[in-house]
């Protein structure tokens, strides 16, 4: 470990050190963020990101290091801020959906669902059962999609590079399903207020069946490569611990919270889209460390498969869009002979449907945690205010709590295990 003799406090020399890390804050503000040892030169201030291979995008961390031990880890976010919430205020309820795809771009369907759920709650739309069940299948596939990218990048961060490519191979099967139903592989915008854009094509069932057949075998391979690997355990067990109280206080949700032993899942606590019709468990951990988060997510793969199997078996026939023509676009063939349909069509695609005045909050359990949408309507066809409660943002908050006292290599494991998407953090 480097030992440097602390130099006497010299304001000018210190200001140079502050300029060295290029933060948009004043010297006084920095003083409150780092320990006094950083100012005397005993510890090293180092930038990690925004261009760094393992910060999962453009996350920037200001690290205060004593050798390789982390004294302080200060996240600096906003490098991917795209103003999605503000943009959504200028769009009709229907046209805002593609924006939600781009928040957590690894789980587009979850975001669609949260937004559409909020709109349905605000306007008061009933969704047909078939649409609800199809939504459940797609949402669980989306959870697997999100977890696959997490597993791949997390393993890559810890040096197990093959797992990354195996995960991408499996993810391909899910992207094929997205493509079959919506035409797009990532930005699907398939879930609409009132149901789905259209019914699923026949090939959908074959593609889902392929996932159900292939995936359990692949899951066993991952377990062999990682869960039972002592080197993997060395890197994950006891790293980045957080207590249940702290996790709740910081607003953590999803697998990160459940790893601490708290059994909170929006699907069970506030069921939406008929999740209460299905039988599934909520895996929890005990220690709240990187390994428990890993175990929780790995078990969620199995639970997702279980839900998909049930939903496929009990999928009812019927429409996938509400019959309320004020919200749902009329079928093309009706427009030719029904004056009313033509008017509905015209009104929907020019002005959009109107929502009453009021405020609603609707949350779904996305792969990363509670993804909530706060929607404030003002009687027009555009929202007054949209706010996304992004799970990545809340899960990232306590990073200093988790990283303090750990090694630089552990920080990489921690960032990977909280599963952030910067599009979701910055919005």
């Amino acid at each position: 470990m480097l030992t440097q003799t602390p130099t006497p406090l010299n304001e000018d020399a210190l200001k140079v050190r502050v300029e060295d890390v290029q933060l948009d804050i004043t010297f006084e503000q920095l003083k409150r963020l780092v320990s006094p040892r950083a100012l005397t030169g005993e510890t090293m201030l180092m930038n990690m990101g925004p261009q760094h291979p393992s910060t999962h995008g453009v996350l920037r961390l200001l690290l205060e290091l004593d050798g390789e031990t982390i004294v302080n880890c200060i996240p600096d976010i906003g490098y991917l801020h795209t103003g999605i919430e503000k943009t959504a205020e200028g769009k009709t309820y229907l046209k805002a959906i593609p924006l939600t795809d781009r928040t957590d771009y690894l789980a587009p369907m979850s975001n669609n669902m949260a937004f559409c759920g909020a709109v349905e709650k605000l306007v008061g739309i009933e969704v047909p059962l078939r649409a609800q069940y199809l939504r459940v299948i797609l949402l669980e596939l989306t959870r697997m999609n999100s977890h696959l990218v997490w597993l791949g990048t997390h393993a890559l961060d810890l040096g197990a590079m093959s797992v990354f490519l195996y995960c991408m191979r499996e993810r391909e099967m899910i992207l094929d399903i997205y493509e079959a139903v919506s035409g797009a592989r990532m930005m699907s915008s398939y879930i609409r207020p009132g149901g789905l854009w259209r019914d699923v094509p026949n090939v959908f069932f074959d593609l889902v069946q392929r996932v159900l057949d292939v995936f359990p075998k692949r899951l066993i391979e991952y377990e062999k490569l990682l869960t039972k690997n002592p080197m993997w355990k060395d890197r994950t067990v006891g790293i980045g611990k957080i207590s249940a109280q702290d996790a709740i206080a910081w607003g953590m949700t999803g697998p990160c919270l459940r790893a601490t032993g708290v059994k909170y899942d929006v699907r069970k606590a506030y069921p939406y889209s008929s999740y209460d019709h299905f039988d599934f468990d909520i895996p929890t951990g005990t220690n709240g460390d990187v390994f428990d988060r890993y175990k929780c997510r790995m078990e969620e793969f199995n639970q997702s498969l279980k839900i998909i199997r049930q939903a496929l078996k009990r999928l009812p026939p019927g429409p996938v869009m509400t019959s309320d023509r004020k919200v749902a676009p009329p079928p093309k063939h009706e427009i030719a002979y029904s004056m009313e349909s033509l008017i509905h069509h015209f009104k929907l695609w020019t002005e959009g449907f109107k929502a009453p005045e009021g405020e609603v909050y609707f949350a779904v359990e996305s792969g990363k945690g509670e993804y909530g949408v706060l929607l404030s309507g003002d009687g027009t066809s555009k929202p007054r205010r949209v706010h996304f409660r992004a799970p990545s943002f809340h899960n990232l908050q306590p990073i200093n709590e988790m990283a303090r006292g750990q090694l630089l290599a552990d920080l990489v494991a921690i960032i990977g295990s909280i599963d952030i998407v910067l599009g979701d953090v910055d919005r």
Partner: protein, 337 residues
């Protein structure tokens, strides 16, 4: 032919073979690892991607040579050479085949000592590159390199010591010969079977020495971006790359020599050229193992790596030397001199 000319020609040939070998090793690695990862690997440049190393080399040569601000210039430029030269020098004493034709200086009577000594030189290049780069990630990489390589040098040196005891000679030619006593016949004479502990320690230390996954902490991309070579580009980067791969070949050649019976194999007396083929095959198998491990295992954490070097490998290697010496003194079968 005067000795000087002969040695010069042989060295030139060796360096040519090694540099070509390095280039195609990088292709082999990319191809093999791609197959392990359900990919295809490079296949655009030439048939089966065979021209890929040429394309890579040309690209690196034509890169603009950037010197970052604030570097310690003489050391910054010297460091890549300090990594490559010792790696090439290692081959001076390795017998790549039967007979004087395929040997440069393998009858050097302190060959094993030379190997251990020259191998430790490479750490200077890496540590200095880290220090001279004026970059915090590079400093951390350089520090890790210095600590890691010293920790593993000891285990490796002691495992070689056990081999030297067995062969009762530090000359690499004698070590190969000692693995072919008539009474064992076949591969049971290899030190891999007569010195399994030393072989295991050598393998682990070799991974650390070459700084390859799972011990690639020196350049751990996910932690230190590129570690000590963060600030290097173009040909300077290529030299580090070359150093790593030549060293990988060298360590595989050393493992072959120390534990896999070197160039030996059937019919080498009738056709000496076969010995080179055997040697090459054994080295390639070792290299494939290197690549396979890289594709499989996660990276070890820095402090765990140091723990293992000092608290496990070093004492075990020391005990192994002691046990070997006692066994030789007792004259047990397989340990009789």
């Amino acid at each position: 032919m005067p000795v000087v000319v002969e040695v010069t020609l042989k060295s030139a040939a060796l360096i040519f073979v090694l540099l070509t070998g390095f280039a195609y090793l990088s292709l082999l690695e990319r191809k093999f690892i791609a197959r392990l990862q359900a990919r295809i690997g490079p296949n655009r440049a030439g048939p089966f991607g065979l021209l890929q190393p040429v394309a890579d080399g040309l690209k690196l040569i034509f890169k603009e040579s950037v010197t970052p601000k604030g570097v310690d210039k003489p050391i910054y430029f010297l460091a890549p050479a300090l990594v490559v030269v010792p790696a090439l020098m290692l081959f001076a004493v390795i017998p790549v085949g039967k007979g004087a034709t395929f040997q440069l200086a393998s009858d050097l009577n302190v060959g094993a000592l030379y190997v251990v000594g020259v191998m430790s030189l490479a750490v200077y290049g890496i540590a200095l590159a880290g220090w001279a780069s004026n970059n915090k990630y590079a400093v951390l990489g350089g520090l890790r390199a210095a600590a890691q390589m010293i920790a593993y040098e000891l285990g490796m040196g002691l495992s070689v010591a056990a081999v030297v005891l067995m062969a009762s000679s530090a000359s690499l030619a004698d070590i190969v010969a000692a693995q072919y006593p008539e009474q064992y016949g076949g591969i049971l004479g290899w030190f891999l079977f007569r010195q399994p502990v030393a072989a295991a320690i050598f393998v682990i230390a070799a991974f650390a020495e070459v700084a390859r996954a799972p011990f690639d902490l020196v350049e751990a991309e996910q932690e230190l971006t590129a570690g000590f070579m963060t600030e290097y580009g173009g040909m300077k980067f290529a030299l580090f790359f070359m150093g790593e791969y030549v060293k990988m070949i060298a360590v595989s050649a050393l493992f072959t020599t120390f534990f896999l019976g070197g160039w030996s194999g059937p019919f080498v007396n009738e056709a000496p050229i076969l010995s080179v083929v055997y040697f090459t095959i054994k080295v390639v198998v070792c290299l494939l193992a290197f690549i396979w491990v890289r594709a499989t295992l996660p990276r070890v954490r820095y402090d765990k790596l140091m723990d293992m070097g000092w608290k496990v490998l070093f004492p075990v290697a020391l005990a192994n030397v002691l046990v070997t010496a006692v066994l030789i003194l007792l004259g047990l079968p397989g340990y009789r001199l």
